[in-house]
C-alpha cells in the first residue's frame, strides 16, 4: 500500500478534470497513464455528451435553425470554454447567446444570438417562482385620476426584449416547438417579444417597442404614468390603453401589485 501525500486527491482531480476537457493538456504521469487507457474516452464522451445534450435541449429554436450537426459542433466549442456551474442542467447555457454573438462561424446569422436569448427566456419563465397574475379587473376598477400614480410589477415569470436588428420574434416563434414554417416569407424589421408563464405553460406574444419600454419602466419601479411616458418616447404612436389591456390579459403582472406611489 503506497503512502499518499496530503493533497493527492485534489491533485488527482485537478489533472483528471483537465484531461477530460483538454486531451492535449500537460498532466501528471499518473493522469496521463489513465488518459491513455481507451476507457478514458467513456468519461470524456459522457461529460461532453451530457453538456451538449443539455444545450440542445435548452436551445431548441437555435438547433432547428442551424441543424443538429452544426449546433452540436458549436456547442462543443462552448462547453470547452464554459462548463456548467450548476448541476441543474436546465440552467446551463446562460452565456450561450453571448458566445454565439462572437462565434465566427455564426457571423452570417446575425439573428442567432437573439433567437438564443428567447430560448433562454423560455427556460427562465418555465422555472421562475409560481405567482398569481394580476386580475385585469383590479386595474379597471381604479379611478382614472389615480391610475397614473399606480405601480404594477411584472410577473417573475415574464421576460421581454426588443430586437432592433432583425425580426427575431418571428424567426424564433417559427422555430420553437417545431411549429411554424421556417421558410415562409419574412418582413425584415425590428421586433420585440414577450414570454410569460401565467400558469403552467410559457406563452409568447409579439411586443412593440412601446410595450418593451413600458415593461422596462414597470420593472424599474416606475408608475404607470412614467411607464406611459417611456412607451411614448420609444414609439410616438403607441396606443397605451390597448397596450395595457394586452399586457394584463397576457398575465404580465403580479397579483397584489397595485400600489399607489406617494410623492
Amino acid at each position: 500500500m503506497p503512502p499518499t501525500m496530503p493533497g493527492a486527491l485534489a491533485r488527482f482531480q485537478d489533472d483528471f478534470a483537465r484531461a477530460l476537457i483538454e486531451p492535449d493538456a500537460a498532466v501528471t504521469h499518473e493522469i496521463a497513464a489513465l488518459a491513455s487507457q481507451p476507457a478514458f474516452a467513456v468519461y470524456r464522451n459522457t461529460v461532453m455528451k451530457g453538456c451538449i445534450d443539455a444545450l440542445q435541449a435548452n436551445y431548441p429554436a437555435v438547433t432547428r435553425l442551424v441543424g443538429e450537426e452544426w449546433f452540436r459542433a458549436a456547442a462543443a466549442v462552448h462547453v470547452r470554454e464554459t462548463l456548467p456551474a450548476d448541476p441543474t442542467l436546465l440552467h446551463y447555457g446562460s452565456a450561450f447567446a453571448d458566445f454565439l454573438a462572437r462565434f465566427q462561424p455564426a457571423a452570417e446569422l446575425p439573428y442567432l444570438p437573439g433567437v438564443a436569448r428567447l430560448d433562454r427566456y423560455w427556460t427562465e419563465a418555465h422555472c421562475a417562482p409560481d405567482e398569481n397574475t394580476l386580475d385585469p379587473m383590479a386595474v379597471s376598477r381604479l379611478a382614472p385620476e389615480v391610475l397614473a400614480g399606480v405601480v404594477l410589477h411584472p410577473l417573475g415569470a415574464a421576460r421581454w426584449a426588443w430586437f432592433e436588428e432583425a425580426p427575431v420574434y418571428t424567426i424564433w416563434s417559427r422555430n420553437r416547438n417545431g411549429g411554424g414554417d421556417p421558410g415562409a416569407d419574412l418582413d425584415w424589421r425590428p421586433e420585440g417579444a414577450l414570454l410569460v408563464r401565467p400558469r403552467d405553460a410559457v406563452e409568447w406574444f409579439a411586443l412593440d417597442a412601446a410595450g418593451c419600454a413600458f415593461l422596462d419602466a414597470c420593472a424599474a419601479g416606475g408608475t404607470l404614468g412614467e411607464a406611459a411616458e417611456a412607451a411614448l418616447q420609444a414609439q410616438g404612436d403607441a396606443n397605451l390603453a390597448l397596450l395595457l389591456a394586452r399586457l394584463l390579459k397576457a398575465g404580465a403582472f403580479r397579483e397584489n401589485a397595485v400600489q399607489q406611489r406617494s410623492n
Partner: protein, 279 residues
C-alpha cells in the same frame, strides 16, 4: 427505508401521466433531484401530483461527495428543501465526484480509494446527512479504468464509510457486473461479499458494449433492459440478504411505461419469492 420494500422505477417526464394513473401496489418512483432544483413551474407541480399518490426516492448525481472539497452548500440546501417538500422515502448519492472547483462534469468520476479520500468522503457524507437530517445511501459506481493508486478495495471502503458515518449503501448490481467485466473480477464474489445489512436500496439497469471497443468495455448506459446476468446476480443477492427496495433504473431510450413496469414486476416477484428471507 422501512416502509418501501417492493420495486420501483425511474420517473421521467414522458411517463408522468402513466405513472400517476398506475394502480400497482407499492409502486414507487425515483427521480434525480437536480432536475427539480427550480424555483417554480410545472416540473415541481408534476412531482407534487405524483407524490400525492406514490412514494418517491431522490437519487442525487451531483453532490460530488468524493471531491476533495466540502459539498456545495447552496446545492445541499436545495436538496434539503426538496427533502422537506417531497418527504422522500430514501435519499441516495454516489461514491464519485462530478463538481470540481465550481465546474460540473455530468458524470460519476473515479478516484484512488486511499485513506485520505476516505477521511474526506466520510466528512462529506456526514455533512450531507447533518444538513438533510437523515441517513443517506451511497452507491457503488461503474468502473472503466484501471487505477493503480487504490489502497482500499471498494467493498471495504464502502463498509468503512458506512461504519464511520452511519450511512447506508445502495448496491447497483448492474454496476457490479459492468465493473467486473471491465476490470476482470468475479461479479458473484463481489455480490456475496457486500455488507448486506447496510443495503438500503438496490439498482438494476441495462448496459451496452462500447461503440469502439465492443464487448471488451461495457458502458453503464441505462438505455436497455436489465441483462440476464444481472437478474441472476440480483436473485443471488436477495437470497442472501432478503428483500430490499429495488429500482428499475432507466435514463435513456425510454420504452413505454408498461415495458418498464414489466421489468419492475419481475423484480417484485424476486422480492416476494419464498426464497427471499424475511428482512
Amino acid at each position: 427505508m422501512t416502509t418501501v420494500l417492493t420495486a420501483g422505477v425511474s420517473l421521467k417526464p414522458q411517463h408522468y401521466d402513466a405513472a400517476f394513473a398506475c394502480p400497482a401496489e407499492g409502486l414507487w418512483f425515483e427521480v434525480h433531484p437536480e432536475n427539480y432544483m427550480v424555483a417554480g413551474g410545472p416540473r415541481l407541480a408534476w412531482l407534487e401530483t405524483i407524490r400525492s399518490k406514490h412514494s418517491i426516492s431522490l437519487h442525487g448525481v451531483a453532490l460530488s461527495l468524493a471531491a476533495d472539497a466540502k459539498p456545495d452548500s447552496a446545492h445541499l440546501a436545495r436538496l434539503a428543501e426538496l427533502g422537506r417538500r417531497f418527504e422522500p422515502e430514501l435519499v441516495s448519492e454516489h461514491l464519485a465526484w462530478s463538481t470540481w472547483r465550481g465546474a460540473y462534469h455530468p458524470d460519476l468520476l473515479p478516484f484512488p480509494r486511499t485513506s485520505e479520500a476516505l477521511v474526506r468522503i466520510a466528512g462529506n457524507v456526514s455533512r450531507a446527512q447533518d444538513v438533510l437530517e437523515r441517513r443517506i445511501a451511497i452507491e457503488n459506481p461503474s468502473h472503466y479504468l484501471r487505477i493503480d493508486g487504490h489502497s482500499w478495495g471498494e467493498i471495504d471502503f464502502l463498509g468503512e464509510l458506512a461504519r464511520r458515518t452511519g450511512c447506508g449503501l445502495l448496491l447497483d448490481v448492474n454496476n457490479v457486473y459492468v465493473s467486473a467485466r471491465n476490470l476482470g473480477f468475479p461479479a458473484g464474489d463481489y455480490i456475496d461479499a457486500f455488507p448486506g445489512e447496510a443495503v438500503m436500496e438496490i439498482h438494476l439497469a441495462g448496459h451496452t458494449p462500447d461503440a469502439n471497443l465492443g464487448e471488451a468495455l461495457l458502458v453503464d448506459s441505462h438505455d436497455t433492459p436489465v441483462a440476464l446476468e444481472v437478474w441472476a446476480l440480483y436473485e443471488q443477492l436477495i437470497r442472501r440478504i432478503g428483500p430490499r427496495a429495488t429500482l428499475i433504473e432507466r435514463d435513456d431510450k425510454l420504452p413505454d411505461f408498461a415495458t418498464l413496469l414489466a421489468e419492475r414486476e419481475r423484480a417484485d416477484a424476486v422480492l416476494r419469492a419464498p426464497l427471499a428471507k424475511a428482512a
